[in-house]
Amino acid sequence: MTPLKGIKVLDLSQEISGPFCSMQLSDSGAEVVKVEPIDGDWTRKLGEKIKGESSLFMALNRGKKSIALNLQEERGREIVRKLAKKADVLIEDFGPNKADEMGIGYARLSKDNPKLIYCAISPFGTVGPYADYAASELEIQGMAGYQWFLGETGGEPVRLGVDMVGTTSGIWSFIGILSALFNRKPSGKGQKIDSSQFLNMIMMYSYIITAHYNPDLPGGWHFTGPFDHQENGYKTQDRALMFGMPIDAEKAQKGWEEFCRKVGLDALLEDPYFKEKGMKMVGIGRDAQEFKPVIEPALESKTAAEIKAIVEGVGGYSAVFKTVEDILGEPQVAAVNMVQELDHPVAGRIQTIGIPWKLKDTPLKMQGPPPTLGQHTEEILETIGYDTKEISALKGSKVVA
């Protein structure tokens, strides 16, 4: 028993949010049909390639079937309407009103299939002055305040390196779709869900919105964060690392003195000020940043692992700035099954990031590799009654591929 066994998903979206969402629905047991333009999802052209196949596309589309359709053509849209009649869930990211203009919007499709759950993902949603603006990952990170917490105050901006807007909007959409599916059982009714990337990111900003409105004093993590320095850790012989002394005052004093002796900062302890306050001047925040030039030279002759061992030996905490290669090589990642392999028809054996949720009695399983473009076009058309002749006619006039 997988949670979404028997649920049919029709995904008309491209890029990250929609495909990430429908990939997670596939991992949960749903049957996902991915409708791509004749020349493919735009991400097929992006990023690094494995035997000509985009690694970015493959990271977002496992376990789906692909049909290539020309939606500029009425005959292509008719195919979408037929597929939507049998679908439980439809995902699209055409932008506000676009699907309605094409005759494949919620109003039209729900007439034939009132149980349909229709999820529209867009940068800004359908309501409000920005509804028609174009924006991608970076613009939304900036507008939703995420760049305010990176880089030096007043310096060059920095973005979050992960595609946070893309992936988490996929997650939000998944949450909306599952809630609507859960609700459909008793109500018997489908519905439309609007998932706005910008609004999704504002929800995830809630700690900051509360902290900055009515604080007792201008202080504390969530208040001072935006005005702090770039937190790039302490340089060592190899990887940078972050560390701090124990929280308990007595342990911190002892730990600090021991740490100083072990890294060769004994001289600091001769100064009563640093002996007494130094433990609070390492780690994260402004004081630590200002004190860093004093500490850092002592660490540069040691590896991050050596310093981590010293810090943890005196009861403190630390973490190394791990690269992707570092973390994926950890036995912990293998233990929780977060790197898996799939056999792709063109790219061969590929690696993919695993499923984060572990349902103990009904474990989830990936349904297969990402599809090649139009790999299942014929098979899918047959399910809605097209015969071989009709299919080759559609191919001939480039309505399908």
Binding site: S55, Y133, L150, R159, M164, I327, P356, W357, K358
Partner: protein, 387 residues
């Protein structure tokens, strides 16, 4: 959406509680088990009216009862409440719930069809299963932080927005919904496990795909994008920055027209995104020079009128005053016992029921003791739950 589902917030700090609040926003009845000394987040970080603002943020849409699970008497009350519930969520350090005799084995005796969601730092198995962590440390340990920062750096920690924590909360909501769907079909509950590490790796999937293709770790790129050119911040005449991304081919000619750079549009070095990625170093200085001659506001108005993806870099004040956020009622004010507080509203819009999902501010610890005790003793009727 989740009317009739009862959720127990037996978590601490941000990860578990935020997940519970979001389930509450979706219509679930959430009861928080508050420890007698109150949660750690109550006493930490930015303060308002004597409480941590993060605690205020992390406990909207909840009812509250103070229970000391170390005391047998309170544990029994807690088990009686759990017997009326559908879901329980905890995110304490590994072993905590076992020591309290409140792990799945114990709780499922009181309620065999409970969905018990345990969220940890590194996952339920493996050499690091028992290691505690937190948002900033997990950013570093998961590789997340190695992707932020100026080019050539070893990475940068994202300051205090708790994106790893929040992402984990969202993953808990996903896992709970999956378990609820399963239970709707089978009638059976189960234990569900997840972790910050697993949630964060899934979040990194697009960048990790670079490693799977090349065998080399992806690196921080400032504001630039490995796959799309241009997509980065540009400095403007007034020393501000704007973000511009040509994330679809059709935007390139729109940008060139808006900037009145006809030669650029015809230049074969920049014809397609693939060409522009190849000739990034030649193209970016041309655009930098152009954007430097007018103020940020100028470019934002001009590019938006031309349909080009563009945006400012906002601070929290600008977000609060943003007309789009206002019109969507995305920030709501609630009166709490710690004074008026602002909350982010639930972002998804459902057509049925069509009304916006409301955030109600958190309540005073132990405020709902009487009514909850009455409910479990049958005086106020049983939970409508068990969907």
């Amino acid at each position: 959406m989740l009317n009739g589902v009862r959720v127990i917030d037996a978590g601490g700090w941000g990860v578990g509680p935020i997940a519970c609040c979001l389930l509450g926003a979706l219509g679930a009845d959430v009861i928080r088990f508050e420890p007698p000394k109150l949660d750690g987040l109550y006493h930490a970080g930015t303060m308002q009216g004597g409480a941590g603002t993060a605690y205020i943020t992390a406990h909207f849409n909840e009812r509250n009862i103070v229970l000391d699970l170390k005391k047998e008497e309170d544990r029994e009350i807690a088990l009686k409440i759990v017997a009326t519930a559908d879901v329980i969520i905890e995110n304490h350090p590994p072993g905590t719930m076992t020591k309290l005799k409140f792990d799945y084995e114990n709780v499922s005796k009181a309620n065999p069809n409970i969905i018990y969601c345990a969220s940890s730092s590194y996952g339920a198995t493996g050499p690091l299963a028992n290691s505690p962590s937190n948002d900033p440390l997990m950013q570093l340990a998961s590789g997340f932080a190695s992707l932020n920062g100026p080019p050539g750096s070893q990475g940068e920690m994202f300051r205090y927005v708790a994106s790893v924590d929040f992402t984990t909360s969202l993953n808990i909501v996903q896992a709970v919904l999956l378990a609820l769907m399963t239970r709707q079909a089978t009638g059976r509950g189960q234990k569900v496990e997840m972790s910050q590490l697993e949630a964060t790796l899934a979040l990194e999937t697009t960048r990790i795909s670079e490693y799977f293709a090349t065998g080399e770790s992806p690196v921080p790129m400032g504001t630039a994008n490995p796959n799309i050119v241009p997509s980065q911040s540009f400095r403007t005449y007034d020393n501000k920055y704007i973000n511009v991304s040509i994330y679809r081919e059709e935007y390139w000619s729109m940008l060139c027209k808006a900037l009145a750079l006809a030669d650029l549009e015809k230049d074969p070095r920049f014809a397609t995104n693939a060409d522009r990625v190849k000739h990034r170093e030649e193209l970016i200085p041309i655009l930098e020079e152009k954007f430097a001659v007018e103020p940020a506001r100028w470019w934002i108005i001009l590019l938006r009128r031309n349909g080009v993806p563009v945006g400012p870099i906002n601070t929290v004040d600008e977000i609060y005053n943003d007309p789009h956020i206002r019109e969507n009622k995305m920030i709501v004010k609630c009166n709490t016992m710690w004074g008026p507080a602002l909350f982010s509203n639930f972002p998804l819009k459902f057509s049925d029921p069509p009304q916006p999902i409301k955030i109600t501010g958190p309540v005073k610890p132990d405020k709902n003791r009487k009514e909850i005790l009455a409910e479990i003793s049958g005086k106020a009727g049983k939970s409508k739950g068990k969907r």
